[in-house]
């Protein structure tokens, strides 16, 4: 069964701390994504990666960085956590297939609810 796991369900950090959120997928997917989800704002893309050691900025990369040293693992780093980074963080991996029909599916982890105090 397809699985994306995130290292923590809940995390509380202090302002200024460096925070690591880990995501692991077991599907051998090339593409991985980090989103944050806030009420009324939907899913906003922070960073994504389409290959090992490759990364691209999403819509809201400021204050974040990422690391992808292995295909199955994609880490989100908050260099110096701030209160406005309190949010739900969702990791996803995806496969895009062209057979007779096209299919693109992102598989999401359960999320990490981060509180920065």
């Amino acid at each position: 069964d397809v699985k994306v796991t995130q290292s923590s369900r809940y995390l509380v950090k202090r302002t200024g701390e460096k925070v690591f959120l880990e995501c692991v997928q077991d599907m051998d997917h090339e593409n991985m994504f980090w989103y944050r989800q806030d009420p009324g704002l939907g899913l906003r893309l922070i960073y994504f990666s389409y290959d090992v050691k490759m990364k691209e900025k999403g819509d809201i990369p400021e204050g974040y960085s990422v690391s992808r040293e292995k295909k199955e693992r994609f880490s989100l780093i908050l260099e110096s956590a701030s209160t406005n980074q309190t949010s739900m963080y969702l990791c996803a991996s995806s496969i895009r297939v062209w057979n007779r029909v096209f299919k693109d599916e992102q598989y999401f982890g359960p999320g990490t609810r981060l509180t920065v105090t």
Binding site: V4, N31, F33, G40, L41, G42, L43, L45, F48, Y50, E56, G58, L90, A92, S94, R96, W98, V101, F102, K103, D104, E105, Q106, Y107, F108, G109, P110, G111
Partner: protein
């Protein structure tokens, strides 16, 4: 040009009723339109998707209607059930694009009352 606008933000429907969620896009390069369903405490999961070569796609009680000229698409949930209560996101992407990003709408919180 990258936006997908989704409405309504929230929706309350009685059991057995029809739930309708609408989305509009601007980027004419988008050619794949999935819907994701998210239950509380879970990540979103793909529900149903459509390409613009068809105007409608049905899977069980869920139907996507697509209007290419208006650049709009909608999700219809027939015979809505309390178990359908969730947040629904529409999305769009370019199947031939060089990256695999999805552009998501802001979501609709559906509540189906028993």
């Amino acid at each position: 040009q990258q936006q997908v606008k989704q409405s309504p933000q929230s929706l309350i429907v009685q059991k057995g009723g029809i739930s309708i969620i609408n989305c509009a896009y601007e980027n004419t390069a988008f050619d794949y339109f999935p819907w994701y369903q998210q239950f509380p405490g879970k990540g979103p999961a793909l529900l149903i998707a459509i390409r613009p070569d068809v105007s409608e796609k049905k899977e069980g009680r869920f139907t996507i209607s697509f209007n290419k000229s208006a650049k709009q698409f909608s999700l219809h949930i027939m015979d809505s059930q309390p178990g359908d209560s969730a947040t629904y996101f529409c999305a769009a992407t370019n199947s031939g694009g060089s990256n695999y990003k999805l552009t998501f709408g802001k979501g609709t919180l559906l509540t189906v009352n028993p």
